[in-house]
Symmetry: C2
Subunit: 310 residues, 2 copies
């Protein structure tokens, strides 16, 4: 089994009520890769400038991320983003966004990646995401992410893309925007009709809802007392999801549900540190322990409650 991610590689400067970090390693493909690498190998397609330090490149490789598809643009600068979180850590404001080499990103999937079994298309222009699909020699299980900007600006290209993918992950607010519905269940059902077999709505601290052929499955997030920095939590969620799905070698609903649970656990680690520090702090035993705790939290046992005869 193999897993390819195409997305951004960036330097993030992040301000929270409790601290600040400058030029932290970030971007959708990085957060996804480091999360997925907790489960097995992952192959990254992205673009960086000449300013990208070798030690960070090495960090990715050390964690089991294949960077053969990481293109370096001579003389170019790497994507830079900065943002600020408000008190409740649910809302954030973008302070600056310099796309740099990512603006002209034309993903070129290495030949060795083209028959991958699983593919994640990180947030980006739908036309760019589509260009990746057309380079594939096999038909991978493909999950795509998007955001409000593309829903607003490239709606028809996005809808065309959705007819070709297996799964879509997006925020609840994006689901409302895309569907025009005000109820999440109606929104998810509406979006499923565009093509994806699975639509997964992320609700941050409120967990995620999977829309599938048999209806809806809602799973909570793991309650966290300390959210240091949620940047990358959505991509870490997707990384844990596809990383674990790859290991289960299945794509049926039961497997997706367990994979969403693993995505939830992975995202909880992401929130525990600035940038990728949270994910890097996770290991086999801490991951397994948190997953077991989560599974037990959701276990309603077998107690039968007698009901009244009315």
């Amino acid at each position: 089994m193999s897993l390819v991610v195409v997305g951004s590689v960036a330097f993030d400067s992040i301000e929270t009520p409790d601290g600040f970090v400058k030029d932290a390693l970030g971007g959708s493909a990085v957060h996804f890769s480091l999360a997925a690498a907790l489960f097995g190998q992952v192959q990254l397609v992205g673009v960086i400038g000449e300013d990208f330090p070798e030690d960070r490149h090495q960090l990715l490789r050390d964690r089991g991320v294949c960077t053969e598809g990481l293109e370096v643009i001579p003389g170019g600068e790497t994507f830079r983003w900065s943002g600020k979180y408000f008190d409740d850590m649910d809302q954030r404001e973008t302070l600056s966004c310099d796309l740099n080499v990512f603006e002209q990103f034309k993903p070129n999937v290495p030949a060795a990646y083209r028959d991958t079994d699983f593919l994640f298309l990180g947030n980006g222009a739908p036309v760019t995401q589509s260009s990746v699909l057309s380079q594939m020699s096999a038909s991978p299980f493909t999950m795509v992410d998007t955001m409000n900007f593309w829903i607003d600006q490239d709606r028809s290209e996005l809808i065309a893309l959705l007819s070709q993918v297996d799964a879509l992950v997006l925020n609840d607010e994006e689901a409302y925007l895309l569907s025009g519905e005000k109820n999440l269940v109606r929104a998810g059902r509406w979006i499923r009709k565009l093509g994806p077999r699975y639509v997964i709505a992320k609700k941050g601290q409120h967990g995620a809802t999977i829309f599938h052929e048999d209806g809806e499955t809602a799973l909570p997030a793991l309650p966290l007392a300390d959210v240091v920095d949620p940047t990358g939590a959505g991509d870490s969620f997707a990384g844990g999801l596809l990383g674990s799905l790859q290991r289960s070698r299945r794509t049926d609903l039961d497997a997706i549900k367990v994979a969403v649970a693993w995505g939830t656990i992975t995202a909880s680690f992401c929130c525990g540190g600035y940038g990728v520090e949270g994910i890097l702090s996770a290991n086999q035993s801490s991951l397994r322990e948190r997953f077991d705790h989560y599974r037990k939290m959701l276990d309603l046992g077998t107690v039968e409650i007698p009901l009244a005869s009315l």
Copy 2:
């Protein structure tokens, strides 16, 4: 086992984006009682005016609600509330609130109720809620509800009450207000220190989180495509919770968790119709079916995912 509820009995006029209902049977004690009665007998303490129609009184009795503690004030008028929901059904605005006989409510618990095993103190003035506790001859498992008004206006009385009860249910926003925390886990932990063994934060469509001696347990709501009217959902949740807890004859964490699940299911029926119509539409088989679906939704099975060695 026995269960007593003390709270309001009201006429509600409710406007939603899709419809309107005038003078529907409502109030915390009514919603709670009809929900709890799905599980077994419940004894209601409340106050009404002479305008309260006999057929509604009979409806309560027909559903297994003992109304011996429902006091009628001669010449008085029953509590009336009207409100309007916005598009997303998450927010509402109070249009009018005439407390009438509820303003001077001095609960008088019938002698036969005083040794009850379970007690629910519906939203009301903390000093009134405390007056009920002092009438009890036994030490029931007591759950209390409150709202932002009392947290703001009667903070010290509320805190005094909380030191004497077993459980508190409140909205997430109320938990933030009471604790001064911006993170729900911190808020719940802070509130538990005031006394209640269990603090249960209701998050509407996002489910509920239980704060207990071993940490936190988050459970999702049942995804609903059709929310007709959420009025009374919180009290129906509490009614299903304590109604099922009474039937399980337990108050340990495993029992509370299952009871919160039953509360979640009961509340989902409440949302399906105006006023108490939703709850009245539920029966043994529809309740059981929805609960089994919910339990299955949360079952993560036993699939083990191999993790990477890092």
